[in-house]
Symmetry: C2
Subunit: 248 residues, 2 copies
Amino acid sequence: VDPNRDNNPGAAEALPEPPWRRARKVPTRRPLSRDAIVETALRILDRDGVDAVSMRSVAQDLGTGPASLYWHVANKEELLDLVYDRIIGEVEIPKVASPWQEQIKEFARAIRRVLHGHRDVARITLARIPTGPNAMDRMEWMLGVLRGAGIPDRAVALGADAATLFVNAFCYEEATPFRAAGKTGDIEQGAELLEQYFSSLPPERFPNFAALASVMTMGTFDERFEFGLDMLVRGLESHAPPTRSERS
Amino acid sequence: VDPNRDNNPGAAEALPEPPWRRARKVPTRRPLSRDAIVETALRILDRDGVDAVSMRSVAQDLGTGPASLYWHVANKEELLDLVYDRIIGEVEIPKVASPWQEQIKEFARAIRRVLHGHRDVARITLARIPTGPNAMDRMEWMLGVLRGAGIPDRAVALGADAATLFVNAFCYEEATPFRAAGKTGDIEQGAELLEQYFSSLPPERFPNFAALASVMTMGTFDERFEFGLDMLVRGLESHAPPTRSERS
DNA sequence: ACCTGAACACCGTTCAAGT
DNA sequence: ACCTGAACACCGTTCAAGT
């Protein structure tokens, strides 16, 4: 786009500017647009995390004031919706012909990977019902896989819902830095403090914590995710018709 | 507490004030305390929801300024931790002797009920690792039930984790008013709009949505919760040793 | 030991006015 | 049609000072 050019559809074809005429006030930036705003928000998110994305910070990065954004997006909520759908678009839909259980798991892992690639973006996924085109395509795919597995419609709808909830909630937790009793810190340090706390508990009141202390805090996020995913798929499986090997 | 009374442990036993002496400056409120602050925060939460709880609003209800709270709580995060543990204390630990599956389900339902009784408090549960005494007692109980079911330690720890995640995430979603593309509204209206949207989708791109449209949006929260809960318990069950009837 | 006022560095959104 | 400045009504937290 040439900002020195008139953008008037009804006008005669534009001619080159006469050389003696001064160029129009030099534009310090390209014009605002929904896309430019979303892109900027995403850049700030990737750089400084979700809390750093504000109407003000986005506006500042675009060289304008916060009020100017409201022509292009309804409010912050809508802006985050757009950012989110853009990120979900990065999730590749598995197209290998593997058993449906493995396809679902691989898809869940892909979502986790992509969310992880954008700082703590997972913290904005839970509140919203994803209706953007990218999210819709992926949900459509998931419904297809489950229906293809012979799971009854009701279980497909409710199961896909539960699966989405699990993945989002897990990533949400994972994206939240360790917080306990007002102290904020990183995860490594948090796990250590937590283990200390658990093993300091009076064992007569907390015999199970005492017995499980090592297992409770040892589980890495990967381990916890895979376990939850597996539980979920087992739950879904119990709604699927028996396979040939099970029937025999 | 009589505010006209000295609170000096080392002093001689207090006498009645001589009637001619003017009463001390009339105290407009009882002194601040952790408990009073938590109680006030909870009252505001119950009245106006989680977003209305701020250091400023709590302070105002107590007749003071926000800075005064910081002597008693480290920060807002810690205050919310305390409020949360207090609410979790309302969850009754099931003590009926029913099968472990039913105990877990009843417990999950109790948590949902209690969270529901306090507006959108579920929106603060996900980020925090509950380490308050009430939450710890309840987790201890849950670990006991799962271990009692013969589930191996690793599966107990990871399974309890996943179960907590599910209940909290579900209630979180349930507590969030319908939000889509920046529009905010209540849930009834949201379900309607969502159904409209789903059934307006091009069926050649979204055949599964088209087929499931009614099932997707029809599911009430109760139905979705029970389904997810059941899936979860089925997943846990698959880690338990076979029962007598299954062995035979 | 406990509380306070004032200040710092922020928010999202609206609205009349400008081009 | 698109952008702006200024204002409104908020935030959480700190810190020196008071009692």
